[in-house]
Symmetry: C2
Subunit: 378 residues, 2 copies
Amino acid sequence: MIQFSINKNLFLQALNATKRAISSKNAIPILSTIKIEVNPNGITLTGSNGQISIENFISTSNQNAGLLITSVGSILLEASFFINIVSSLPDVNIDFKEIEQQQIVLTSGKSEITLKGKDVEHYPRIQEVAASKPLVLETKLLKSLISETAFAASTQESRPILTGVHLVLSQNKEFKAVATDSHRMSQRKLTLDKMTDDFDVVIPSKSLREFSAVFTDDIESVEVFLSNNQMLFRSENISFYTRLLEGNYPDTDRLLMNQFETEIIFKTQALRQAMERAYLISNATQNGTVKLEINSGLVSAHVNSPEVGKVNEEIDTEHLVGEDLFISFNPTYLIEALKALKSDTVRVQFVSPVRPFTLTPGDDSENFIQLITPVRTN
Amino acid sequence: MIQFSINKNLFLQALNATKRAISSKNAIPILSTIKIEVNPNGITLTGSNGQISIENFISTSNQNAGLLITSVGSILLEASFFINIVSSLPDVNIDFKEIEQQQIVLTSGKSEITLKGKDVEHYPRIQEVAASKPLVLETKLLKSLISETAFAASTQESRPILTGVHLVLSQNKEFKAVATDSHRMSQRKLTLDKMTDDFDVVIPSKSLREFSAVFTDDIESVEVFLSNNQMLFRSENISFYTRLLEGNYPDTDRLLMNQFETEIIFKTQALRQAMERAYLISNATQNGTVKLEINSGLVSAHVNSPEVGKVNEEIDTEHLVGEDLFISFNPTYLIEALKALKSDTVRVQFVSPVRPFTLTPGDDSENFIQLITPVRTN
């Protein structure tokens, strides 16, 4: 029967990170619990929603944990409820003691709370991923790659493969992440320092967003392991499992063009704010679009929603070459694309009013590219 | 046809304060608009939901407004939409121009937005309140009185009069505010510096909460005027009208007792945190209550929810006199009562397990008193 004492804040932090895999409204009731396994070396917290699983290890050797294990065992506790209770406790220290089968007492200061748990027997087993030959990635780099691509994945289940981000490692060191919902596409490339095995997988974009929330910036690097249908991201204390999406990802390389008719460089913020104003009016009508006019060296944006009103505005440019052009598109896609850009300026290249246009950072056109498909108007 | 230019931030601030009276889902569509009236001295913004009306005046003599009026007139504009547009504009200054009947153009920097408005003709008239012999109150004092009482008003429409706060001025200077939902009561008294006319009104607690949001802390005092069915709070630029509730407010004075069997002084925070833990467990069962035990000089709190768990905890006291007592109540009421208390300590006085108990600030027992009705258990 479990017995340990632990620092409240550290315990809470580990519980909250683990809870990111737990959905309170899961169709499988047992997945709303958190698994607490105590062994002589430390405590493993496990949460899972069937798609993502997180294991969080708190070691007895972690100074900040103040972890003292008197007796080992395991139990399931209702995750949200248990975390609320722990967070309400008065003292910096918590004593956790199983007093009879699946019944625990938390003592902290003069407060004593008894909770009912469940038997771990029915908790699903997390499929193992062979942890050999890891790909080691900087957490910061991986998170920035996620924030640059995952937003462009589809949220519609009509083509499930498009709800994922396509991660490809080729030539042992060329790493590429691509996402598209068929209206826009975002692709980030990077070259690894160390040679590693090639792979080609599609990871649900939701999993990647959770990854970014779970692996905080103080975790410098993660090891990445792959099995048939799962990917495992691992740091010193956290193992993050996600299932992979099955199916063939569309060939996005064929969408990239090498020539353009018009090229403009904008200040990223100025273009984004203009599009946000356009969106306020365009959003008031169904399928609202904004029209961009490039005419004799001047760029202007126009929305006309007969019911609501109009926007006309001139947008300053840093550089403009090529043909005049009128092109219509959904401003939401451009706003989200610009949010994903970290550079102060953005290079936009147009081929024609009916062909996707390209966005690249003003300061680096090679490694990060986005496409937006225009809307045909008459 | 209206034409003026104005500082964007000041305009936005006035629009947002006025919008507090405007509900976007009002059954009367015209009440989702904001009325903009421009006359040679300034601009009056008006919003109303039928219960509360706010008029906000921006004077041409206000330096921060940078207000330059070229042409006068009035128009109605969809409140939320208009405010979103104004807030998105790029420049510190906005030009507002009516180009044809009920059609305006906003120009700011290189952005030009055209919006459709409505004729002011159909906007309801705000009933006037004769502005003579005002009661002048410090805004801070009035807001603190609201935060100490309004939360205790009922949210149920079964007894509409209880959804209000009872404000009574008697003997020309004794001011009292009371609210009760029949489970708990909160009463704040204060003595005015200047003599004024007596009154006895019930104001919807919702109106008072909006009052607190609209009159920011930089507004030092407000004038209060009364008509048959309305109260008007007025500062230099803002007029805030609220309807009064009709009907007789119950006699709450008879609930106050002069004697007690047990008196305890707690640290406010310690008692509140203990109740918050109790609530986590009690809330998991229907009609969850906490039991407070005063036994041989020790005070402890207990919750037992057979399905979920138990709480037992000792609560430190600063002072304790009188009889032993077991009393059960809904911890939510005690938590909310303690939130309304600004003092570090709280004096709690009990008569019996079936009679309401009293809370007063540890440092001031005369002017602020709260009652909580216990729950009978067997």
